[in-house]
């Protein structure tokens, strides 16, 4: 677990989830993917509460977050995440069907680390997912878990 990093995939569409996982499977990388169906579950997971109170400690290397979801939508999850000093360092990549300007700008303003429009064709979709995983899991250096936050809080 410590050797392989976790990906948190939050999407209410089982088809999108399946297609995402299919794409990841093509690369045969051994990343742990946790899939959640809505924003409420995502927040519970991140705060280790309710159904996820007993989950192992540590935050995912990246959160792939859909916007339009039942209960708590992606924008709200992002807002809570980025306004919490303990969670704001967790990288969040928005993955959505919307290319509406208001969504793009809104997400960046709330502190999203990337914004990806789900491509229409399956081929492109697969390529995009592969690139994302490769970048966030291999190329990108994630923030150190827990180490700096006390320092920052103390400072």
């Amino acid at each position: 677990m410590s050797s392989s990093k976790r990906i948190l995939l939050v999407d209410d569409s089982p088809q999108d989830v399946e297609m995402t996982l299919e794409a990841m499977a093509e690369d045969r990388q051994d990343h742990e993917v946790i899939t959640l169906r809505d924003g409420a579950e995502a927040l519970d997971y991140l705060y280790r509460r309710n159904a996820f109170a007993d989950r192992p400690a540590g935050q995912p290397a990246v959160v792939l977050l859909d916007l339009k979801m039942p209960k708590v939508d992606g924008m709200e999850v992002l807002r809570q995440l980025k306004s919490d000093p303990q969670l704001k360092l967790v990288p969040v990549v928005i993955m959505t069907s919307s290319r509406e300007e208001q969504d793009v700008i809104g997400c960046y303003q709330l502190g999203a680390n990337a914004y990806v429009v789900k491509p229409a064709t399956f081929r492109e979709f697969v390529e995009t997912v592969k690139h994302l995983v490769a970048f966030w899991m291999m190329t990108n250096e994630p923030p150190p878990a827990g180490g700096r936050k006390t320092q920052r809080a103390g400072g």
């Binding site: 297609m19 339009k68 069907s97 919307s98 290319r99 509406e100 789900k118 229409a120 399956f122 979709f125």
Partner: protein, 806 residues
């Protein structure tokens, strides 16, 4: 003038009297003054001034009345009366003066020079008239005396004729009888030798020794004496000689001749008469009669006429004379001039009647005939029509009779005076008065003139509309104070303030006010302005008031409507915003919810294809391909719809856009579509426009893409871009191709979303392009239209706002 003209100045104003008197004295007139009408009248009777300068408004008797009294008293009627007034200047007043037979007018105030020159004219007229009167009286007296003499003479001649008769009957005529006659009598024989004389003849010859009569003694030849004088060149002597011979020969029954005779003793006129003696001897009787006195009277009359002519000349009058027996008339040059006759012509009474206006003829003749019948004088007016220019002139005339010794009228003489200009001025004044009166009285607007008196407002003159407002008539409102008319004190103060303000500002002042009248509020617009000081010395102001209640109500209504309208606009805007928000929400949901299933269809189709690659039949594989193509197409449609929707909502950033560069860029962007194609681009110089650059880019991208696409079957394709019209700051731009075109009857469908005129297998596309073009151009305030024909190409026109050229 030997004696200074005497002028009586009647004026109740001491300072004016002193000033005028001093002016006159400085011009060497003898001035006397009076301060009341009756005092003046008494002075006229006592001291006989030549000219009276008569003020009108006097404390006791009005000047016009004084004038009338002077003119109706024969003793003093000849005094020249000049009305002098600063107030009595209207035509009516001057007419009153004319009726009172005033001789002239002087209007105050006057310039000293003008005044004195007018006074001088009046003085000269007074002087001339005086002279005329005197010579006329003298002439009449002498004529009367002479006619008595003539009557005596006639009697004598009658007697003499009886004597002649007796002489013819009997040769025994006693010398005594002849001698008793004052007439000089001589008898000539057939040879002209004087054979008998009476005592008067002999006395005359004796009294004038050395004259040509010296030779006319008894026994001398009378005809010889005449012949001598005739030979010396005296035409009268020649006439006399011829006359005598005619009587002697029996050719004439008698001969008479009047001739002047400058005797050594005195200047005389004689009448000579020659008659046959009546016997067979051929003898004739010569009588000489002294007619000097009659001749002198005639000369006086001529002098009188001459003076009259001179006076008339000075007064710009024409002088005429009418012989009532012969109806011959004599005119001076000014008469001809006045009557528009280019040169003097023989004048008769009949000719004169032709020149008088037919309507005035009867009246003028009545006056003339009254004078001819023995009335002394007449003053009258009539019109003439001038033959030279057809103009009508107003004439004033005076006529007076000339009597002979028996009191018979022989002539009527008089003057004519052209008063056309005077009359015209009077009429113009009346016309002006009428115009102003009409304006003043025009209904619907209250007008009036007021004076400010001790915090109150004195109404000097008001029109009927204003009077009606106070429940009065203009007459009963005159000289009423506003407080008497029932105007509240606060209102009087307010009006007074506005009047004063208009004087201070030197301009009219307008204000609005309202009154509650008959349980409704009425609004008024008043304008007041300072006029000038009135005769009372108080300042006068004019006012105008207009009822603007209707306008006010309309204004209020308009305001109410505006408020309502604004409210409605707000409501509509709110509704519009709501609809817009709903639309945005719809679009948002479409962009998310419509895309996801499409992606899933595509994803799962591909996954299915991958899973079953080798196991599916060719037919099944083709079905999978159709599903993939359809979903891709659907995906494109959704994207276009979203971009179209975005176009309507995106904020515009207007700048100056260099259209030519924008077109070039667009053509470069089309490289993929144009690669391998033969396209001739004709791009005219394009002016810069005002607009959102990225939106305009999209317009031209769509238009050029269409042009390239629909000209695909052409080789070479021709695409033209230009500006066809510039007007009122707008340019019309077009993109024209020689492509497949279309039937214009479908043109109306072209700008709808997803409307297409070609099948997808002919020309690709979703049909969103022109809809986008129209939406963008409309947002820029412009228009889009299209011209096309099947196989003849297409031209799309757009209008865009031109950038102001610098």
């Amino acid at each position: 003038m030997s004696k200074p003209t005497k002028i009586l100045l009647v004026d109740d104003d001491p300072s004016l009297r002193a000033m005028t008197s001093e002016m006159l004295a400085s011009a060497n007139y003898e001035v006397m003054t009076a301060s009341t009408g009756l005092e003046g009248l008494a002075l006229v009777r006592q001291r006989h001034p030549d000219v009276v300068l008569q003020d009108v408004e006097l404390p006791d008797v009005n000047g016009i009345e004084i004038c009338r009294r002077i003119k109706s008293d024969p003793e003093i009627a000849s005094t020249l009366v000049v009305i002098m007034s600063g107030k009595w200047t209207s035509a009516d007043h001057q007419n009153a003066g004319l009726r009172a037979r005033a001789d002239g007018y002087i209007t105050r105030p006057f310039q000293m020079d003008d005044f004195l020159s007018r006074i001088e004219t009046f003085a000269r007229i007074a002087h001339d008239e005086k002279l005329l009167r005197e010579s006329e009286q003298q002439a009449q007296a002498q004529t009367a005396k002479l006619s008595v003499d003539i009557a005596q003479l006639r009697e004598q001649i009658a007697k003499r004729r009886q004597a002649d008769e007796a002489l013819r009957k009997s040769i025994l005529v006693t010398q005594t009888t002849l001698d008793s006659l004052a007439v000089q009598i001589a008898v000539m024989d057939a040879q002209g030798v004087i054979i008998a004389t009476n005592q008067a003849w002999e006395q005359f010859v004796r009294d004038n020794p050395g004259s040509r009569f010296d030779v006319c003694r008894r026994g001398a030849s009378y005809t010889e004496a005449c012949a001598r004088t005739a030979r010396a060149g005296d035409p009268l002597a020649q006439q006399a000689l011829a006359g005598i011979k005619a009587v002697q020969s029996g050719a004439r029954a008698s001969f008479e001749l009047e001739y002047p005779c400058d005797l050594p003793s005195e200047k005389r006129w004689f009448a000579m008469r020659v008659t046959p003696l009546g016997d067979a001897s051929g003898a004739t009787v010569v009588t000489h009669e002294n007619i000097t006195e009659r001749k002198q009277a005639e000369e006086l009359y001529r002098a009188y006429l001459q003076r009259l002519t001179l006076a008339a000349e000075a007064a710009v009058m024409g002088v005429w004379e009418w012989d009532v027996r012969t109806h011959a008339a004599t005119w001076d040059n000014r008469m001809f001039e006045m009557y528009g006759l280019s040169k003097p012509e023989p004048m008769t009474y009949r000719r004169w009647t032709e020149l008088v206006h037919p309507e005035d003829m009867a009246k003028a003749e009545r006056h003339l005939h009254r004078v001819a019948a023995g009335n002394e004088q007449a003053y009258f007016g009539f019109r003439i029509i001038r033959p030279s220019d057809g103009e009508t002139r107003q004439i004033r005339a005076a006529a007076s009779a000339v009597l002979d010794g028996q009191g018979q009228v022989v002539k009527v003489v008089g003057v004519n005076f052209d008063i056309t200009k005077h009359k015209q001025a009077e009429e113009a004044a009346r016309e002006n008065e009428a115009i102003l009166r009409t304006f003043f009285d025009s209904p619907g607007m209250m007008r009036g003139i007021v004076e400010l008196v001790d915090g109150d407002i004195l109404h000097v003159a008001d029109n009927a509309a204003a009077a009606a407002f106070f429940g009065r008539t203009p007459e009963t409102m005159r000289h009423q104070l506003a407080s008497q008319l029932g105007m509240p004190a606060a209102m009087i103060q307010s009006w007074t303030r506005h009047y004063q303000e208009s004087k201070q500002q030197g301009a009219p002042v307008s204000f609005e006010y309202s009154h509650a009248a008959d349980s409704e509020i009425r609004w008024w617009l008043a304008t007041v302005s300072y006029l000038a000081a009135g005769p009372s010395g108080r300042e006068r102001y004019g006012y105008m008031v207009l009822d603007i209640t209707a306008a006010k109500r309309a204004e209020e209504m308009l305001q109410r409507l505006n408020v309502e309208l604004e409210q409605r606009v707000k409501e509509r805007t709110l509704q519009f915003e709501t609809v817009n928000k709903e639309l945005e929400a719809f679009t948002y949901s479409v962009s998310h919810d419509l895309r996801a299933p499409l992606r899933h269809i595509q994803g799962y189709t591909e996954m299915l294809a991958k899973e079953t690659q080798d196991r599916l039949s060719a037919k099944a594989q083709r079905h999978l391909q159709v599903i993939a193509d359809a979903s891709e197409k659907m995906s494109q449609l959704v994207d276009d719809l979203l971009s179209f929707s975005r176009m309507g909502r995106t904020e515009m950033h207007e700048t100056k856009v260099a259209l030519e560069r924008l077109v070039q860029e667009t053509i470069q962007d089309l490289e993929m579509a144009t690669r391998g194609r033969a396209i001739t681009w004709n791009i005219a110089p394009l002016p810069a426009v005002i607009g959102d650059r990225s939106m305009l880019k999209q317009v031209f991208a769509n238009l050029l893409d269409n042009a390239v696409k629909y000209s695909r079957p052409r080789n070479p394709a021709e695409i033209e871009i230009g500006c066809s019209d510039r007007q009122d700051g707008w340019g019309t731009f077009f993109v024209r191709d020689n492509g497949v075109g279309f039937d214009m009857k479908y043109a109306h469908r072209l700008f709808g979303v997803f409307q297409r005129l070609h099948r997808a297998d002919e020309f690709e596309g979703t049909g969103i392009g022109l809809a986008n073009v129209r939406r963008i151009v409309a947002r820029h305030g412009g228009r889009v239209w299209i011209e096309a024909a099947v196989n003849k190409g297409t031209a799309v026109f757009v209008t865009l706002k031109l950038s102001p050229s610098k």
